[in-house]
């Protein structure tokens, strides 16, 4: 799997536009050549690589305790941390109410992610919002928040220079990029890998050698680290990241899911207070 990843990495087609190759995401946001579908498909590869081993592990373990309900859980809940927690509670014969309530607490953090992503999707119709909301996870948020930022910024910058015929050009290219198509494709591919991974784990047990299965989930950690680094643009971002990381680590053992929620809120609050004091 790891070798495969390297080959895929090397097999990237040579960049046609030298200006847009700074990051993979920037490189991909070449609208003339690639549709939202293809861009999202490429962006989803790290998620798929991270999801498959984790969901397979979930399927392997869950099959012993809740049978085919393990696949149902992945298909309906689609939230990794809470699924493992719920499985643990099923094994411990916890009450139904407690399992549901714990799930709610763990997944409450998505409220922050949906709030943020809604800034890109606020003009969508109800059905489309309902559809993409289902697929908001830590990982799809991570990729989409960054991908949408780059894709919309590229649009603005590519529209900015030619002031003579701005209105027509900007209308055309604005219409040519659909945040919905991008988000929906990204969510769908991630979802399919999560559910099919669970199914594979459920029916076939562990087929990947354990030593590889053990390190592949680190894909997701590395993905978060990459996104953290490229999102830091000023000193106060570093401060916000340090505060969030410290609180998250301290609370991780106590309250799964909540550590992320509380850490994010406190760090964002401190960041905005600093900004207000010294001026943004």
């Amino acid at each position: 799997m790891v070798v495969e990843l390297e080959q895929r990495n090397n097999n990237q087609p040579p960049p046609k536009n030298q200006n847009t190759i700074k990051t993979f995401i920037n490189h991909s946001s070449n609208f003339g050549e690639m549709s939202e579908f293809k861009i999202a498909l490429k962006h989803s590869i790290p998620i798929v690589l991270g999801y498959l081993p984790v969901s397979m592990a979930f399927g392997v373990i869950a099959a012993n305790y809740i049978g085919s309900n393990s696949v149902l859980m992945s298909a309906l809940v689609f939230a990794g941390a809470s699924q493992f927690a719920a499985l643990q509670l099923f094994i411990l014969s916890s009450s139904a109410i407690f399992i549901v309530f714990t799930t709610f607490l763990i997944n409450l953090r998505h409220i922050l992610m949906s709030s943020f992503l809604n800034t890109y999707h606020k003009n969508l119709g109800k059905l489309k919002k309902v559809a993409i909301a289902f697929g908001i996870t830590d990982e799809t948020f991570a990729i989409a928040s960054n991908g949408l930022k780059d894709l919309t910024r590229d649009l603005e910058s590519s529209n900015a220079p030619n002031t003579s015929n701005t209105s027509n050009a900007s209308k055309e290219s604005k219409a040519s990029f659909s945040p919905f198509k991008y988000q929906f494709t990204l969510n769908s591919v991630s979802y399919l890998s999560w559910v099919s991974g669970t199914f594979l784990g459920f029916v076939a047990g562990s087929m990947i050698p354990e030593e590889i299965l053990n390190v592949l989930p680190f894909t997701l950690t590395a993905l978060f680290l990459y996104l953290l680094v490229i999102n830091i643009s000023e000193k106060r971002d570093v401060g916000v990241a340090l505060i969030a990381g410290a609180i998250s680590v301290m609370l991780a053992g106590i309250a799964i899911g909540w550590n992320i929620f509380i850490a994010t809120l406190v760090a964002c609050f401190v960041g905005s207070e600093i900004e207000r004091k010294i001026g943004g």
């Binding site: 590869i45 809940v77 943020f116 991570a142 053990n214 950690t221 969030a244």
Partner: protein, 100 residues
């Protein structure tokens, strides 16, 4: 708990997981007015990644080494695949060779 009950619990889990995901898309509050929104990605990425590298009991040395390399590669090259690949590959080597 029999399997029917498990299925019912899963339906409950699905409902309470979906609500926080969908409600912000329909809120009337203009979230962009709140200044702290712009810090959300940095704060979330950090709070997601850090517990994988250390716990209250200490640092996971092999993952921390891989993470430091990932951060350096990300900062220098700003390439996602290279970063992710290097991190996983280094971690694999460290665990395979039992460096720590």
């Amino acid at each position: 708990m029999d399997q029917i009950e498990v299925t019912l619990v899963i339906l409950g889990m699905a409902a309470v997981t979906y609500l926080p995901r969908v409600l912000p898309f329909f809120t009337k509050i203009d979230v962009q007015r709140y200044i702290f929104l712009k810090f959300i990605p940095v704060a979330i990425f950090s709070s997601l990644a850090m517990p994988d590298l250390m716990g209250v009991e200490g640092v996971h040395v092999s993952r921390m080494v891989a993470a430091v390399i990932a951060v350096v590669v990300a900062y220098k090259t700003r390439r996602m695949f290279l970063t992710v690949f290097m991190a996983v590959f280094i971690l694999y080597l460290i665990e395979k060779l039992e460096v720590f």
